[in-house]
Each structure stands twice: as C-alpha cells, then as structure tokens.
Symmetry: C2
Subunit: 772 residues, 2 copies
C-alpha cells in the first residue's frame, strides 16, 4: 500500500518527486483517448527508473507461445501489446548540460492529472550541480476530439543565470518492449522524413504488418515572441530529431509547442497514410494549442455530464471513483466495433491481448449506463464479428456443427492465451458473452439486436454447451468435466456450479430467443437457421433435455451450492486464518498448495448469484455469501465488486463498504504492488458497479428501473448519473433523502425500494425515507 | 510403423541406405558405454538430414524454464542434455570432391549394429557424378573397458580410378543442440592443442561449468604399410582438424585408425584433465585398434552371459529383446552412483534431465536380475544422496519437518520439470522410490540397506505423505487432493487410487522398517531419529491414523477400484471405439478433449495391482484388467509391459502376447513415430520385464523365487538368465518342459507353479508340465 499522492476531488497530484514510485506514477498519470494512449513519462530525458510506453489501439505482435510441453489445441501465439513511437520527447540541454531529473537537485516538483479536463501537468524547479536553477512547466493532452492528435506545451526558464538552451523535439520509433523474450524489436522502419520543425516516421509491425505513421511539428515562443529557428536535423533509423539553440536571459521563458500525430493503417489506407498523417497534423498545428485544448476540455466536460459520480464527505473515495470513470472513458469510447477494453488499457504492456471476459462481466454495465446503447452495442458487435473465429476455435478443440467457444484472450477473435487450464477450460467466459446480450437487451430494450446478430452468437454458444456436457450414467445427469471456473485457484474441476448454471441459462435464453424470433422475425429466423444449418427439432430437444437433467453440486446438510464436485473434501478454514505474512497467497504459496486449499480468488458461486440474483431470495444469497466470502482471498481485482454488490443487496452495508475499499483506490494506493505495470482498467468497471449497482442498488427488472440505495456511513451523500432508455437521470442519495433529477423530455416511472415513483421530465423529485 | 531393417538374431541391419529414415537409423545404431554414447552418425561429411549427437554422462545445461505464466514452485531450470564433441569425424575429399552420401549414387550400403560385440559397422559403394566409384568400410566402438575411449577404423578404396585423397580426421566441439531456444551454444572453449596426428580440445559447459577434454589421435595404413604423413593442421575455436593427402592406385586401400578420448571433470580434477586425457588416449593408441576391440568384445561377452534372453522360433522377437538388453547395458553400468538412466540414454536430446520414476518402476528389476545387487544398490544410493535436495524441494512447495518429495525429473536432485500438473502433482513417483527400496531388499535380501540409508529415505517420503493428505470432514477420511497419477491424461484429480494406495503402503512399510531398526539396529535408529528430528510417537501415531482412515474411491456396484473421484462420470466407451485415424489421441485430440475422456495413457490402477499383486486374488485383478485395459490407449512406452505382466499372470496369454508386441520392437519399427528423436531406453526395462516377469512369471515372495512361465504360442522356446541372491540361473521354457540350469556353487530351492523345486549346483533340472 502506498500513500504518496494527494487527495483531491478532481485531480491526481504528486507533490514532490518520488523516483522510487516513478513507474507507479507513470501508470497513474497515463493519458488516453480510446485510440491511443501512453504512460505519464517525462518529455525530457530521464535516466532513472521508468517504463516507457505509448500504445495504439488494436496494434499487436503475435509472439510465439512459450510452453514447457506442447499440448494440442494451444494457440500459436500470444498477442503482445506494443510500445509505439515516443512522440512526447523533447531533449533539453542547458549550457551544455542535459536536463535529467535523475541527476539534479529538485527543489519543487508537482505532477498533476486533471481528470475534469483530461490534461497532465508538471512543474518543477531543479538545479544542476553547479547551482544553476531552472523552472519547467509542462502540459500535455491526447485529444479526445481528434483521435490521432496529441500536444505538449513545454516551458523552461533559467532562474538564476543566462542560459544557452539546445532543445531537441524528437520522435523515436526505435523503441523497446519490456515484454519481449530476447530483447527483440517489433517495428520495421518504413518511411522517414524530417523537414525541420516537422517530421514523420512510419513503421510496420513485424508479422502483423500494421502500419503507423507518427509525426511531429513544433514552434516556439521566446518570452511572447514566436521564434525563427535555425534547426539542425537528425535522421536515424526510425528516429528523427530537430535541434535548435536559443539564448535566454535570466527569468526569460522558452515555450515549445509540440504537436504530434499517430495515424494507423486501421483507419487509413496504407499508401495514403503518410499524407493523411501530414494533413491531420498540419490541421492541428494551424488550430494551435489553445484551440485544441479548449475543444478537448469541452468534450471531457460532456463526458462527465453523463458519467460523473459525486461523493460528499470522503475526498479519497471521490478521487477514487472519478479516477475509475476517467480511465474507463480514456480507454474505450465505443466508436469502433473492432476495439475493446484491455485489462491495462493504454497504461502498460502486461496481459497482452485486449479482450477478456472482463469486458462483458465488469465493463459493459458502465458503458451501458453512462454512454448509451450505441457504445455498448459496439462491444457486442465486436463479439458478433468474431463469431466465425470462435467457431473455428471450438473446432480446433474438437467441437463441431457450429459450436462457438470465444477465446479467453483475444485481439482479432483468435485465442491467444496459452495455459490449458485457462485457455481450454475456463469456458464460463462463453456464458458471460451470452449473458451480455441478455444484459444489453434487458437494459436498453433493444431486443431487435437479436435479429440477426445476437441470435447467431447464442446459437453458437448453446451448441458449444450442448457438446461440452456429457451424460453420466452414474449420476443419471449431464455433467461438465474438466473446467476452470472464475476462481482460477481451482483448475480442471468437475461440475463447477457457476459454469453449469450459466450453460443451462444460456440454453434457456436461446430457446426463448428462438421462440421470439419465430414469432416476430420469422424470415430472419429462417435465414439464420439456413446460415447456421440449425437442426431445430433435434438441437432444441437436446437442449431441453440438458436443461432438465443438468447436475448441480449441492450440500443438502448446509443447503449450500457447492463450487464444484468434491469441494467439501477441502479443509474449510477461513482466509482470516492464513498468516498475514503469507498474503497474497499467490505470491507466497506454491501452486500445489493453492490448488488444494479452499481459497477462492474471486467470486465463483457468488458470481452466479450476482448474475441471477432475481432467481434467489435474500436469505439464500446471504447464506451463500456467509459461506463463500470468508473463503475468498480477493486476489483478483475483479473480486471485491461482486461481493460489494451482493453484500449491499442482502443488507450487509458495513461489509459492502469494507469490500468496496479494496477496489476503490486499488491503483491510487497500489494495493496489489503491481500498479507499476499498468492500471487495472477493467476492474474500474467493477468499482463503478460497486457504487451504482452496489450502494445505488440499481437493477432493471421487467423493463423498469429499480433503485435500492444505501448510504455508506462515512459519506455525506453520493450522486450518480445513469442513462436508461433515453432518460438521463441523476440520483443523489443523502441521509433519509433521495433526489432524482430527470434530465429528459419525457416522464419516467421507476421503482424505489420496490415502490413505483414517477419522475417528471426535467424535474427533480425528492423522496424521503427513514431507512437510508 | 517402419519395417526397413533386416531381422537378425544378433544384429540390427540396414541394407541399402534409407536417407528418409536416417534420423531413426541414427537413434537405433547408437553406441554407448555407460559414461558416454552417441548416435549412429556418419564419420564423413553428410549434408542430408541428420541429428548429430554425442553425449557424456551427467553433463547438462540448466536452461531457463519457459512458461506462459509463472506459478510459484516452478523449478528455475530445465536440464538440457548437451551434444558434446563430435569425435568420430573424418572428412574425406577424393580428387577434389567431398565424400558426401547425400550427393552420390549409392550402389550398395549396409549399416550393422553387432549387439553381441558392441560394434557399429558400415560398408558402402558409391559413385561421384563423374562415375568414379569408391568403397568404404568402417567399424566403430565405444570401449566398455576404457570408459573414456572410442575408436574408428575407416577404410576407403577407389574402385575404378587412381585417387588423390585428402583425409581430415577432426574433433569438433563447436556443436549445436537441436533443443535450444535461440540456437545458442552451450560450450565455452577452454584449451586447444593440435600436434599433428594428435590433438585436444577442452570446453566448459556454460553455467554448470563441467569441463570435458576431448582428444583424437590417428594413424594410417596405405595398403598394409603404416604411412608417414605430411599433416596440415587446422585450429579453430573449439575445432581441430588434421589434413593429409595420399595417393591411392585403383583398388588400393587407405585405412585410418582414429582413437578418441572424452574425459570429464566428473572423474578427473580440472587442472589435470588435459594431461589425464592425453595419457588415456596414448595408452589406447599404443594398445592399438585390435587389442582394444578384443577386450571390448570379451567384456560384452561377459555381459551377455548374465543377461541374454534367447527366443527360438521368432527372429523379430529375438532381435527386439536383445536390442532392449543391449541398450540397457549401453546406458547404465552401475559403477557410479551419481549416474542414472535417462529416458533416451545416449541416443538423443529429448526429455532433458536424466532421471524419472521410470528408473525405479521399469529399470530396476532388469539390473537387479542381470547385474547383481551392487549395480541396483547404486541406483538406490543415487536417490539416497539426493535426499537433502528432495527435502528442499518439498520445503519449496510448502511442506516441512523433513518431508521429502523427489523430483519428477532430475540431474542432481533438483527438480527440473516445469509443468505444474506433473512437477507438483505427479507425487506417486515418491511412492515408486520407496517401493524400490522394498523391491531391492525383497530381491536381494540385503535388509541392512535400510540402516542407515533406506530408512532415512522412507522417513522423508512418509512424512511427505502424511502432510500431503488432509482430513475430509465430509468423508470422515483422509483424502489426497490435486494429484496426477501415472495416467497423465488426467490432471489435478482427487484421490487417485494408486497414489493413495502407494502412500498408505509407504507408511506401513516405513513403520515395519522402523520396528526392524529398533529391534536389530537400535543405535543406528537412534542416530537416524536425531539426524531427522523424528518425533516417533506423534509421527507414527499420525501415520497409523492415516493408514486406518485413508479414503479409496470404489464402485460397489461393479466391485471396481476407481482410478480417482468422479471417474464414473465419464463416458466409458472403450478405446476400440475411437476412430483409428485419430490414434494416437495425443497427436490428434486437443488436451481439453483428452482430459475429459476416459482414456488412460498408461497403467494407473493396474500399476498398483501390478506392484501389490500378492494382496489381491486373480479374479479381482482380472476384473480390473477387463475394466481398465479396454480404456487404455497405451500412449506411453511404459504402458504395455505392466499390462503384459498382469495379463500373463491372470491367465490371458494371447492378450499378454499381443500387448507385448507393442513394446518389443517399439523403436526397431518406430511404432510411435518418434524414434528419430532417440530410443525409448527406460521402456526397454519394461520389455525385459514383460518377458521375465510376464511370460516367465518370476516373482520373489517370502525370500523365495517363484516361476510361473507361459509360452507364447508362436515361440518354440525362450530362455532367460537371472541372478538371484548369488545364484545365477538360466531358465529355458519350452512346450511342456522347463529346463533350469543353476550356474552356481550352491543348491537353490525355488517354486515352479507354486511347487517347491530344488536346483542342484551346476546342474540343469528338467521339469515337465502339461500346461505350458
């Protein structure tokens, strides 16, 4: 746990430089705009510890799978997230000495992420060994209006001397990845041009052949005057730099405006890419820094209007939830159905690949509620477009007739995870993808998504389940052998309850959807059956048989669902009995010991109870919470949120709040000792859910919105915004009072604590309750 | 399946060159002497497909473990078997053209492994494109009398022209390993010297720092005259070559005698190594080729006297069993307790590391019976010496108080396997190591091995078992969770019957052994308890409790032991129902499908029934054989032998014979399509067991030898030799007759078909039976 950042409602602030935490800070101070992003690296040279990272959406390298012994069905590659061109770089030499904070005496330092405006600022005062002191002030942003454009304003001022400054804005595509096996490089230079204050480098990714053209253009103010510069150009392989020399009197300031473009062959034809990049960059250059920044701020303002959560009375919590919302919005904007939400977003290399079941299970609700149906729909279309590859993937594993198994990790629909106990076995993910279709339709009412998209995905997944189970003569039931549930501290188990449950649920939901298609979209249904060669009678009969005869492990004595067969053979000591020095167990125990232990990495049975909460009464859920939560070590960043939501829902507010604290500032306080590698972006979706679904108790049941808020004891109030079927609501929960503002042109009826309430259009309704 | 070799009783013969099978032939024609060995590569240059391999016992490189995701407890390295100096090389150029069988027209070719004498011969006649034809004849051996010495006699004769020959005997330490990650090399040059017809290269292994000095010395006969040569020396990094030119008239023969030494720092002090190598080589050179060959032949003759098996009426079977015996004797001679039997011996790189549980389970009986107790005892001492590392290994996984877990794969006692489902979980191997102590004592009667060696190993292993089980409240019994049994087509199962069984057996045997120590070696026992800090009462009480309360999965309806919990949930289709095009399933099915299937890679429940056969009646064993054998795909080379032995013992002779055929010529016919990578050395121990324990029905029960022979239908007779407690017996089984010759100075009583028979010293007893 680290606590070196200053609590603030809208900003993340590092006051005083903490080089020992620099990698953590670089992760936390990351910027992104959905198309590109990068870590909070310094513009000027820094010889201290740093992880340099700039990432461009959808760009990856397929690295050869490394395993001890090959097992049939392993994917051929693991997708590496690639560090792309360093576009922020400005090298500064002052009177012959290079500016490098690792080697200077720093008298003041402040790094500040302004989440409201999407900017990263830095000011510092530092002295060279000879006592010459300078002041530097930088502001940087990645435009969310112009997805290819980033800009830096870099000011440097000699405080106690006259300076001769050599500044070298540069663009470096000759970058390394930390995640490489033999320090190999992944970019192949394509084109290079340096025109003085403007230059371009384009490079291909090896194997995948993505082409990126990065460009920079800059101008300077000396004091308030634009400078005519004498520029010395440097062109190396995949690198351009443009040096100029300038004399500054004491206290005179040099300002460099650097504009950059990163254009991708995902959006422009390769032969035109350089030209397009030039046009985009010059347009931005002409607009100028202030105009770019202004439009960027306004766009962030609009985002916050639909997604902000305000917490009164707890600045740390306020900062934490805004950080989560800010990062989710930086990572995914939903305007490109080929993109998704990587576990580390644009903040680090780890976990290669972009898409896990995290997206459907932990991120979809956020985008559904705050960005409206089109953004969420693109997350669904992403999977729809990958359906042929999911079918191919299942086929490689020995399934047939259109069974689809979505990959555990993917960039383009192909599996790129390579541990069999996860790759082959963690099949519950397939259920999460089916469930996302249900959740989208349930939330938006857009049932037409089923025809023709959703239904094809449901058919593929249902076919997979029906082939993945087998009939047990012994049990006279269908069983599902050899799976890994969400709790990855168990591998290759039989009859993981959650997996069996979501499989049966998928079959039922697919049957309902087929019925609906037949009734309302008969011709589309016909087309789907032909396309998928669906044998209606035989397949649906089989599914009904499985629904009726699925085996679910259960302990009659305790009236408890069992996580999997044989779970009760374990020594069921609570996690609190583990020596604290041995936590997290993943870092202290052998895998052998973890597998045999009863300890649960993240919600497993409880994941199902969360998803299908409406099928169980609160006593039932509460009993299971009391049985499983004490065994849960929450060593996945995706664990606490589900537990928070369930605890809140079954009337355990203190427990809900204490669990929420594990997720709320996970990265800001580096609880898991791994923020240095990047942020836990997908878990931030869980943080948001903890507040809105957990404390807010938001549910959609029978086409109506339900609210069951609770108020954590140390919060004065909280206020969140949701978009529900075109109605934009703002819900403020205070002691004994709920204020709901309907920012819409129509009235809306919803349920608060199960009682119907009608919200008039453009009005705030204030409702009083004794039990909040 | 390949069938290009000629059947012969004593030889392996390739008639006509089969370049497409060259790697297979190179494996099959391997030579070894227990200290070094190498593949049947050609002496002269060969540009066709080949796996060059020369290996020196105990020399390895610890390669960094490659895994997708690191799991705590993984070993740091995987031991690579290293290709060492090519000492056989003789490059030949004739009238300016290089001799290279890949580029010549071959009119005759014969490669021949003489198993009786331990020599590899090759003759060929081949023509250059210009029609010039030569005849070459080579004989090579690795002395089993002088473990560092090898020799080649290489004769070349121009048949239809006068030739100018340039011959270059060389020594090349600049070799590659196929098993390398980045084509890196593993030898670091140390010393190099080239004196003309004599030269030396010594090199260190990277990381491990083993030092090997290889040397060569040669002379030549032109016709019958020794030549004085004008030698041109070539010294490169880790390479020496000595070229000489010689003129030959048509039909005149040049003979090169090349002697080589490979001396290892495992046997000589590093500073003296080069000197020692020189002395050894010069002694061999002085002795000369014929004398070296003669002593070598005589030594092989002695080996065959105690280990031969003669089969009449089936040349293919005769060749197969002799090949097995020959390779086992080439691989391990038992004179160094630091050595062991690698799965590929000296015939290939695969499976890195040398020692698996194969040694105890499949090889020990061969050496016990054919080489006498000292050789077998060294196999036990190997494990005794590794006990501290086995304790360390268990400690790394979270066990304590002296619990020992022997590694799955090792060179020096450290684990060097890196798949968790095998490394951590295949713990039954620990039982095999305990059982080997029992088997050794049972066979030899040398119970004193327990004090002080055996008992310490037993204590360590028993402590492991007692910590590895846990109490199941649910079952009110001890369970063993998360293991992999011998059937590696199941991973992370609970209560693998064999593992639970051998654990309980170990505890019982350890308790018995402790009792015996207390009675007969009280002071040694005291020393052991002090050394191991053994808490006699607490620990043995715990063991007794586990023995009494261990859980064993069982199907009451079928009266069948279950391989593991939940086995009956599988679809129990026999292996015969699998589409033959999909066999072996390991090459055709995904790992996911294999794990869920009921198919068994190698004996698992049946492994226990084989080991503890005397505890079960034949009906019981037969019922289990009928249940499990049809589910067994025998995709381990170690599978068929156990099934053969059980089938023979429960009166299924045809089944026994058909299973035997899978093991008998596994490599000679390349049944598994992998002989190109090296021979299945440890499985050859199983082949031998199939004959002696299977058909011969040899058992030792209550200190007496028992024989229950059957005769396969198409064999006229078979005759094997065993050494039992100083008595050397030769048992010949013929239809209705058994002839047993007691080649000893004392009488011996044994049981044939459960009836006592006394064999008079130095006499042959002939016994008639109606049922053979």
């Amino acid at each position: 746990m680290k606590d070196y950042l200053i609590n603030d409602e809208w900003k993340i602030i590092e006051e005083g430089f903490h080089p020992e935490y620099n990698r953590i800070s670089e992760s936390i101070f990351s910027l992104g705009n959905g198309r590109q992003g990068g870590r909070g690296n310094f513009e000027e040279h820094y010889s201290g510890d740093s992880l340099q990272g700039n990432y461009i959406a959808g760009i990856y390298y397929p690295d050869k799978t490394l395993v001890g012994w090959w097992k049939n069905g392993y994917p051929e590659y693991f997708a590496k997230v690639l560090n792309a061109a360093n576009w922020i770089g400005i090298d500064i030499t002052i009177n012959g000495e290079r500016l490098d904070l690792a080697k200077m005496k720093i008298s003041s330092f402040r790094r500040e992420l302004n989440m409201k405006e999407g900017t990263l600022c830095r000011q510092f005062t530092a002295s060279f060994k000879n006592g010459k002191t300078i002041e530097v002030s930088v502001i940087r942003f990645l435009s969310i209006v112009r997805p290819e454009i980033g800009a830096v304003r870099y000011c440097v001022k000699p405080l106690n001397f006259d300076a001769e400054i050599v500044a070298t804005p540069y663009l470096d595509f000759d970058v390394v990845n930390e995640d490489s096996n033999y320090d190999e490089k992944f970019w192949e230079g394509d084109y290079i041009e340096n025109l003085g204050n403007e230059g371009y480098v384009s490079a291909y990714t090896k194997k995948t052949g993505f082409l990126i053209c990065s460009g920079m253009k800059f101008n300077t103010l000396n004091g308030n005057e634009e400078q005519v510069l004498c520029i010395k150009n440097d062109c190396q392989e995949k690198f351009i730099g443009s040096s100029f020399k300038i004399g500054l009197k004491q206290a005179q300031e040099l300002t460099i405006y650097k504009y950059a473009v990163n254009a991708s062959s995902e959006y422009f034809r390769k032969p035109e890419l350089v030209d397009k990049a030039k046009k985009l960059l010059n347009k931005a250059f002409e607009a100028g820094f202030d105009k770019l920044l202004k439009e960027h701020r306004l766009a962030w303002n609009r985002k916050w209007k639909t997604s902000d959560i305000v917490i009164e009375g707890d600045v740390a919590a306020q900062q934490g939830i805004r950080f989560a919302i800010f990062q989710l919005n930086q990572t995914y904007t939903g305007d490109d159905e080929r993109l998704n939400i990587g576990p580390k977003g644009f903040t680090g290399e780890k976990y290669g690949g972009s898409t896990y079941w995290d997206t459907e299970a932990f991120c979809l609700p956020f985008y559904l509620s705050t960005s409206g149906p089109l953004v969420a729909r693109n997350l669904l279309m992403y999977r729809y477009k990958h359906l042929p590859k999911a079918i191919e993937n299942a086929c490689k594993l020995g399934f047939n007739t259109g069974a689809a198994l979505y990959p555990m990790v993917t960039m383009n629909g192909e599996e790129c995870h390579n541990e069999w106990e996860i790759t082959f076995e963690e099949v519950h993910r397939n259920g999460a993808i089916a469930y996302a279709i249900y959740e989208y339709i349930n939330y938006t009412g857009d049932k037409d998504y089923l025809a023709p998209f959703g239904i094809e995905v449901l058919l593929g997944i249902s076919r997979f389940w029906s082939q993945r189970v087998n009939w047990s003569e012994q049990k006279q039931a269908y069983v599902m052998l050899g799976v890994t549930g969400p709790n990855e501290y168990e591998n290759n188990v039989h009859n993981n309850w959650h997996t069996n449950n979501i499989a049966v649920w998928t079959l039922k939901y697919t049957l309902e959807s087929i019925q609906w298609m037949k009734e309302l979209h008969p011709s589309e249904w016909l087309a789907v059956t032909e396309k998928t060669r669906f044998n209606d009678e035989a397949e649906t009969n089989m599914w009904r048989h499985i629904i009726g005869k699925m085996y679910f492990p259960w302990d009659e004595e305790r009236k408890i669902i069992l996580q999997q067969d044989g779970f009760l053979d374990k020594e069921l000591e609570p996690a609190s009995a583990i020596n604290p020095a041995e936590r997290p167990i993943s870092q202290h125990w052998s895998w052998d010991r973890i597998l045999r232990s009863p300890y649960i990495k993240q919600a497993d049975v409880l994941q199902s109870l969360y998803l299908f909460e409406d099928q169980y009464d609160k006593t039932f859920i509460s009993r299971h919470f009391d049985f499983y939560e004490p065994l849960t070590v929450h060593e996945s960043s995706l664990s606490s949120c589900i537990h928070t939501i369930l605890a809140a829902s079954v009337g355990k507010p203190e427990k809900a709040y204490s669990l929420y604290l594990r997720t709320a500032r996970l990265d800001l306080n580096d609880y898991n000792n791994d923020t240095c590698e990047g942020l836990h972006i997908t878990s931030m979706g869980g943080t948001w859910m903890s507040v809105v679904k957990g404390f807010g108790g938001i549910r959609v049941l029978g086409n109506a919105l339900h609210l069951n808020p609770i108020l954590p004891a140390n919060w004065k109030s909280y206020c969140f915004r949701v978009n529900f079927r075109g109605n934009h609501l703002q819900v403020k929960v205070m002691p004994r009072t709920i204020e709901i503002t309907n920012h819409s042109d129509g009235d809306l009826s919803l349920f608060v604590y199960a009682k119907s309430v009608t919200l008039l259009k453009n009005k705030t309704s204030v409702i009083h309750y004794s039990n909040i």
